[in-house]
Amino acid sequence: MADPVLSIRDLSVEIPTRHGIVRPVDGVSYDIAAGEILGVVGESGAGKSMAGNAVIGLLNPPAHISKGEIWLNGKRIDHLTGDAMRRLRGKEIGMVFQDPLTSLNPLLRIGDQLTETMLTHLPISRSEAEKRAVAALEEVGIPGAAERVNSYPHEFSGGMRQRVVIALALCAEPSLIIADEPTTALDVSVQAQIIALLRRLCRDRGTAVMLITHDMGVIAEATDRVAVMYAGRLAELGPVRDVLTHPQHPYTHGLMASTPLASQGKSRLHQIPGAMPRLDAVPDGCAFNPRCPHATDKCRQAPVPRVSNGQAACWYPLVEEKVI
């Protein structure tokens, strides 16, 4: 296989707080290849957004990368700062945020926001940028794009705005897109369309995608591989079919069982007992051990090895027949 577009190696993010240093991302490694969509799942607070922000260089101080490496198209980027990192944003790495109602500047026409982004990164003239702005809107399925470039954000519906956001994220043709819960704030009726759009555009251009979501339906439909995060760590990483149908990590298993999609036919949703530990109180050994039905003394003491593709960070990975 060709070199991955994005390669994260043993990445940790630390935040100094009053109660000591917390580590919202702790030794995470994964790759995303060109044209591949990696789904990132996990409970709220698991560190999904933090990992994405670390990649695009938008961690809010005092959060910072404390360990590990980030490689983009064969270049190491985790130590880049200031203007060098800014040049990558938008040009090499695009980002789509959760809420399209708040991600667009209300006072600027969307055409201006598009041309501004292109002119920042691409060696093209203003009139060329204007032409491409119309084309970009057409590509994301905005009807009447030639007139709509002159509209302001408030003149679009939520779903249309998220299309505009996607056009903005893609307009300088980045090789990686980080989409942080791109459909969570949208009407259920348009969620599938937006995911399908993102998927089609990225497949066509060979863009790598980090798709952060809570929605197992989205994972099942749109992604190639899944990374499951728990308390800042990678619990499991593998091809989507394997992870969904034969989860190896007890946490993944619980997560699948607690989502409507995977529990079809069952009368009740299974809930994982307990809650994810606070970052300043992550237990020794496996972070999941207080909630895990299989936990042993080993789990409570020995830190689990970090995972690579197709593995779970568990001393006792589930095999297919095993039932909780």
Binding site: R86, G90, G94, F97, N105, L107, L168, A172
Partner: protein
């Protein structure tokens, strides 16, 4: 848009009517001008004749109507003290106040916005913190004290700048300007700093807090995520959004500058309408006081109207909502 403007103009007219009523009421209830105008040796006929001449013998409503009728035409009667038409006196004095207010306003807006943006962008920087602490002084010191301190320092101790008056002025078709002579410009410096300092610090602190709020917004984060340059993010995206709420306050502050000019004009013996008003109070020169009140309120209302119209051009959301589209 048009309906909106008509509505706002209507509101403005109502405000002016009410201020007019207050101003006019002074004629009835504050002091007796006849006492002031005629000396000790006066006869009953003198008093009656003057009353009739000033229209003070007519019923309240008639007098109010006449007052309004005159006011609309710029006719505020005759100064009790100087015996000349009030409008003429005001016109003579207006350039001094307007030039002072203009310079103060421009200083306050320019420095207020620039320093507000600076302290917001460099919120943790040393200089920004020094400016913020210093601005507390500007907000808390009373205007007359600032004026006196400046006079002490720059006029008394250093002798660089004049402590009172306008300096030489040049007459441009009835408008006496201090902008064209060196002494006129020098004379403007201390009063305009005195007058504008409070407004400048106010604008600066407001711009700073609004800008910090805007910089937290998602669309700023998204602008950064698209790799836009800091300059574009701060000035194109953040500043424009910051200015939406700030503009109203700036408008009000411009009005306040003209109103507060009274104090500064007194401290610096600046021959403007504010000083005229203070002197008018001493002599219960009610036509002058009434005209001054009307003038100030017309300016307040006018500035507010302008600000509202300005919103239309800045914020596209208002355009849509108010015109009922989309």
């Amino acid at each position: 848009m048009l309906a909106y403007i008509i509505q706002r103009v209507g509101q403005s007219a109502l405000v002016l009517l009410i201020v007019g009523l207050v101003a006019f009421s002074m004629f009835r209830f504050v002091g007796d001008p006849i006492d002031n105008m005629l000396g000790q040796e006066r006869t009953a006929e003198d008093i009656d004749r003057l009353r009739a001449q000033l229209g003070l013998d007519q019923p309240f409503v008639v007098q109010y109507y006449k007052f309004l009728e005159g006011a609309v035409q710029g006719n505020f009667g005759v100064s009790y003290r100087q015996g000349r038409p009030v409008a003429e006196i005001l016109l003579e004095r207006a350039p001094a106040t307007l030039e002072l207010a203009m310079v103060s306003g421009v200083l306050a807006i320019l420095f207020g916005i620039a320093l507000g943006v600076f302290t917001a962008i460099r919120r943790d920087g040393l200089l920004a913190n020094v400016i913020m602490s210093g601005s507390l002084i500007g907000v808390s010191l009373p205007t007359f004290l600032i004026g006196i301190l400046l006079i002490y320092l720059f006029s008394v101790e250093l002798g660089w700048l004049p402590s009172f008056g306008r300096g030489e002025t040049v007459d441009l078709g009835g408008w006496s300007t201090g902008f064209l002579t060196e002494s006129g410009l020098k004379a403007l410096i201390l009063p305009s700093i005195t007058l504008g300092l409070y407004q400048m610090t106010l604008i600066m602190r407001l711009v700073r807090s609004e800008m910090l709020e805007v910089l937290r917004q998602d669309y700023i984060r998204f602008a950064r995520a698209r790799g836009l340059r800091d300059r574009a993010v701060n000035f194109r995206h953040a500043l424009k959004n910051t200015m939406v709420p700030v503009i109203t306050v700036i408008g009000l502050q411009l009005g306040a500058i003209i109103a507060f000019a009274i104090i500064t004009e007194t401290v610096f013996q600046w021959p403007g309408v504010g000083l005229l008003f203070i002197n008018a109070i001493q002599f219960v020169d009610i036509p002058v006081m009434a005209a001054y009140l009307m003038l100030i309120s017309v300016m307040f209302v006018g500035i507010n109207l302008l600000v509202d119209i300005l919103y239309f051009f800045i914020d596209p959301r208002l355009r849509a909502d108010r015109s009922g589209g989309h």
